[in-house]
Symmetry: C3
Subunit: 254 residues, 3 copies
């Protein structure tokens, strides 16, 4: 559909591996990748369990100059927060919809989102021609933000690094630094699902995998500069039964 | 190989997820996607359980102006039927074969099909230069066409929507409309594998997933405008053990 | 990251399906594909279990004019051997590293390799500007080379064809021809893991799958012109429990 709008578009598949209906992970994957793309890039994201219900179809323009075409169902939580909202417009489906697709109620990804994203990227329509402007806000999923309090760092596990079983927290370098842990020092880590403690132990804070022997745990700052846990040449998530999502919490102290 | 023919070709991977040797699914996936691409697009499809036997290597030009490069083993069943046959040519492997690949008997996908498709798409050869013209027909896989008879709609399940477990039938809107089912009405659905009834129940005919509560079944028209069955936020195929292929049949009445 | 260097680069995903930490398979997949790409192509390969340790980050230029950007950890074993070493340079990370990524110790794939590969491919830097030249050698993984001796052909199983369960050996046509097996002749095949014989039987040497009945074994020359074993319409690896890697050996005699 996008190629039919313009064969000159550069089209990339960021991922088709979001678990079905997992809006939170869609939000995280957009957050993880968007800033690496130049301003003007148009992202189309369709994790849409509510297709055919009253959620709005929107295009978010961020202060960084990126565009996001998506159902406004929480998918925009993290990019709105991190890149800033410049403006939000609702897609006017009377204009921005693939011809002869009016009888399709279930495939907005193809008929509305891909079509509108391609037309915006190709310059067939301007941002203003997407549709009427909405108040500068998006639907947001509540989540536990990282904080340092009384010698303890608190955070959540937004997502795993599934290929390797590494645990990615949302505790960024700045918050973690408040703990004043030294490079090489073992810190006390507790990982819980709701009130149930799933992992408790001491893990050395190091730069990288090769700093610990094979099979040993490590705490490191990952590619997004957030605290992560791993086993060198192993799979931390499998070894200790760790998952991700809003119900997973992390506490770290010295 | 295609890039070596011309680095300026636009190359897209439609799918590498056809189950091994499943010619029928290849036929369906081509049918599902071809019409969204502009006239002149060259499709290369290699599901080729008979590699090295006497099946012909052909290029089909459809009346819609699309080209299909493939073994003529049933892969063309649905695009020939739906887009119309303009002409069929047999690939002349004395000309249209990657240099120095004569000793390879098993990798026609790379040495003949990708190579010929790329040369045709890049304008290195014309359609006429593919090889000699054949009679305007292709090998077709027999399948149950949809029909309405004595108050019952009959059809088949050509394919599943595997990510979500939705059941896609080949009953198009026009045939389904002969049942005169009203929006919101429950209809009686029977799904069989050969003579064995696998599912029997009443399912509401609605526009989209959000029209039924979570966990409930629905009958809707999918992205190809054919009758489909699903569970809102669930997996119909898993829940009831439904598969796809020529042996799966569907009956619907009011 | 590569697109940020230049939006005009042609970027292809050769594979993201190398099993974690499997340097040998990375080496094989590069070997399998590189020669099909034009001279000047830049390959970025990051299977890097030693990230953050003292392995060097290098760019290999082969005599064929291809470039390989990778940790020098064995990944270059086969392309260096087959395409020839023209020169090796160590990546100077003081220049060739994504801005503001100095605090990331674990994501060289993004910050160093993809970045350097894109700059080299886009002409932002020359090969000389990668960094200082090293001696013309790379880290090599030892492996069993194919040979003919006293009427027996010996070889290894570098990799499987996982989708179909075919067994790919490293015995090329030239070595196999020394056995003087006739087309259609059954040869005696022994496959071992270390000292344990896993398969022993007679298999016909034929051109292609269709030359034997469905369900029967065959020995054929695969797309790389090396001896392979398969079951027509079946899965040899599953049927007999065969794997791949340095510990798997093959013997063939008449």
């Amino acid at each position: 559909v996008a190629n039919s709008v313009s064969p000159d578009l550069h089209i990339f598949d960021l991922t088709h591996e979001i678990p079905p209906f997992n809006i939170w992970e869609a939000a995280f994957r957009l957050h993880q990748t968007a800033a690496y793309w130049p301003a003007g890039t148009v992202f189309v994201s369709v994790v849409d369990p509510g297709v055919g219900t009253e959620r709005k179809s929107v295009v978010l323009k961020t202060k960084s100059g990126h565009y996001f075409v998506t159902p406004d169902n929480g998918t925009l939580t993290l990019v709105a927060e991190n890149l800033g909202i410049a403006a939000v417009r609702e897609i006017d489906e009377t204009v921005n919809r693939r011809a002869d697709s009016e009888l399709n109620y279930t495939f907005h990804g193809r008929d509305v989102y891909a079509f509108t994203g391609a037309r915006l990227a190709a310059g067939v329509i301007t941002f203003e021609q997407v549709g009427p402007e909405l108040p500068p806000q998006v639907v947001s999923i509540p989540y536990q933000k990282p904080r340092f309090e009384n010698g303890v760092v608190y955070g959540a596990i937004p997502v795993l690094d599934p290929q390797y079983g590494n645990i990615w927290t949302n505790i960024d370098r700045e918050v973690f630094n408040q703990l004043s842990a030294q490079n090489g020092e073992e810190v006390a880590v507790k990982i819980s699902r709701g009130k149930q403690v799933v992992f408790e132990g001491r893990i050395p804070f190091v730069n990288t995998f090769g700093d610990v022997p094979e099979g040993k745990t490590l705490l490191y700052l990952n590619s997004l500069n957030t605290v992560s846990f791993a086993i060198n040449m192993g799979n931390f998530a499998e070894a200790y039964g760790i998952g991700s999502g809003p119900e997973w919490g992390v506490e770290i102290c010295r």
